[in-house]
Amino acid sequence: MSADTLSAPPRAVRFRGALLPLALFALLAVVPFVAGALGQPFYVSLFTRIMIFAVAALALDLVLGYGGMVSLGHAAYMGVGAYAIGILSFHGVDSGWLQWPLGIGAAALAALVIGALSLRTRGVYFIMITLAFAQMLYYTANALSTYGGDDGMTLWGRSSFSGLVKLSDARTFYWIVFAVLALSYLGLRRVVASKFGRVLRGCKENERRMAAIGYNTALYKLAAFVLSGALAGLSGVLLANHTEFVSPAYMSWVRSGDLIVMVVIGGLGTLHGPIAGAVLVLVLEEVLSKLTQHWWLIFGPLIVLTVWRAKGGVVRLFGGRA
């Protein structure tokens, strides 16, 4: 055994670990065809939405599952990304080449400022302060009367990419969101296994030890927070394009809670877990809310049961490796 293969898991284990993520992406890939065959275009829209939230859940998992930072304000970065699109669209800037980088950049900047201040605290105080900052952004959005205030605002249309792709076509948009999700997933897999990711995982497990071997832990955690904020911003950019509407509700703390539910139910600290969680939560919401408006009465116990029976998330029921 040579030194460079010391810690790599055997090929068979790695293959088995890849089965569930592959199955998930295969499921998402057949949705447009099934929807077409059934004559139910609504499914394309539903699963577009699911994948957009899966991107945000992935972003949250980086800080929550790998960095041990319980951020209860991640919807805010989605909201900032979405509002960037809304505001630019309002002023007649509809080029995606401008809108998308600005949306992502604005969310990253918000995460940088909020992260730098929040990471001075620990545990329950960190949860409170991320929540407080998210609420500040929520009420700021409410106060933006030019941009619809608490009613929100309808966009002129989806981003344009010099006529290269037409986002207004539901299927085209579906595949773009699919590609964003797949690339985010594959990219984050690299990141968590990289030197940076290894330091981040070390900080989650034992920050004092990491400082004692020479790491400026605050800096690594902040970098993860900004990366996560940027990715959540991207999901907000997609959401604004999908709904062609932005509203303060995108930033509500209930939304932040939903993201945590997706990550925890799916599987904290696994990257396919949050995707499975987004599918599960939003499909159940769709099905149950048709049955009754008190659907949380059914959904709540289901969450309790899942967390109880499947510690570590539903993906671990399938025996997949973290």
Binding site: S2, A3, D4, A8, A211, I213, Y215
Partner: protein, 252 residues
């Protein structure tokens, strides 16, 4: 030559003075032990030297530099590393990864987001060499949670060694270790003599008197005596203030 110089260090927690007017110098290449009864302020001293606690007064000079106000990670980079009294390893990481993280820290910043860290041959090879030094190479792929208490004590030292220190602060490396593993630890520390300077906090008198070049005795946060093992054995103040009923141990 003096590697670590502590000048008139003081630290209080409310009304309790944990460190009082403490001065100490550790010569490069030596093993300097700090002993003292429970509550003498040994762990508080280590925390101040490592940078986890800020002293109320006094200075810590390391390698000619005033490090009194430097944070932990900066001191480690200068070559001042510590081990913990209670094993403080990354339990869900393999032994190799625990050490590799310390090697990785020494190589500079870790803002590398793409390449698989576990396949970095240079880091793995260096980490393996350190595991060999402490005799844990054959356990490299075990998780830290799976190995014995004594092995985790050795891992604790391997991690500190992998940071490439000029000086190790060892906080009771023998704590909770059986006689056989304690022997293994003493042998291992002996092999480090001359290569790295050691400040050894230890309860095991037998180990202290076998290893140390110099010994400082701490009582109620104050250094009451410093000298060679023989001088400390003969010191009347030490016998009276600290050893008293433990006389036998001292002569042993």
């Amino acid at each position: 030559m003096t590697l670590l110089l502590v000048e008139r260090l003081a630290k209080s927690f409310g009304a309790v003075a944990a460190t009082r007017d403490l001065s100490l110098d550790v010569a490069e290449g030596s093993i300097h032990a700090v002993i003292g009864p429970n509550g003498a302020g040994k762990t508080t001293l280590v925390a101040q030297l490592a940078g986890e606690l800020r002293p109320d007064a006094g200075h810590v000079l390391f390698d000619g530099r005033d490090v009194t106000r430097l944070p932990v990670h900066r001191r480690v980079r200068l070559g001042l590393a510590r081990s913990f009294q209670i094993s403080n390893t990354l339990l869900s990481f393999s032994l190799l990864e625990n050490v590799a993280l310390a090697v990785q820290a020494r190589h500079g910043h870790s803002f590398r987001f793409w390449a698989d860290a576990s396949r970095d041959g240079r880091i793995n090879a260096e980490a393996l060499a350190v595991l060999q030094t402490v005799g844990l190479a054959d356990r490299r792929d075990r998780l830290a949670s799976e190995v014995s208490h004594g092995e985790r004590r050795l891992l604790e030292i391997a991690i500190a060694l992998a940071t490439g220190p000029k000086m190790l602060l060892l906080d009771e490396p023998m704590a909770g270790v059986g006689p056989e593993e304690g022997q293994r630890m003493v042998e291992m520390l002996r092999t480090l003599r001359g290569r790295v300077t050691i400040l050894l906090i230890e309860h095991d008198m037998d180990a202290v008197f076998r290893l140390a070049d110099r010994i400082t005795v701490l009582v109620y946060g104050r250094a009451i005596a410093t000298g060679t093992p023989d001088e400390i054995r003969a010191d009347a103040a030490v016998r009276e203030a600290y050893l008293g009923e433990e006389d036998d141990e001292l002569v042993a």
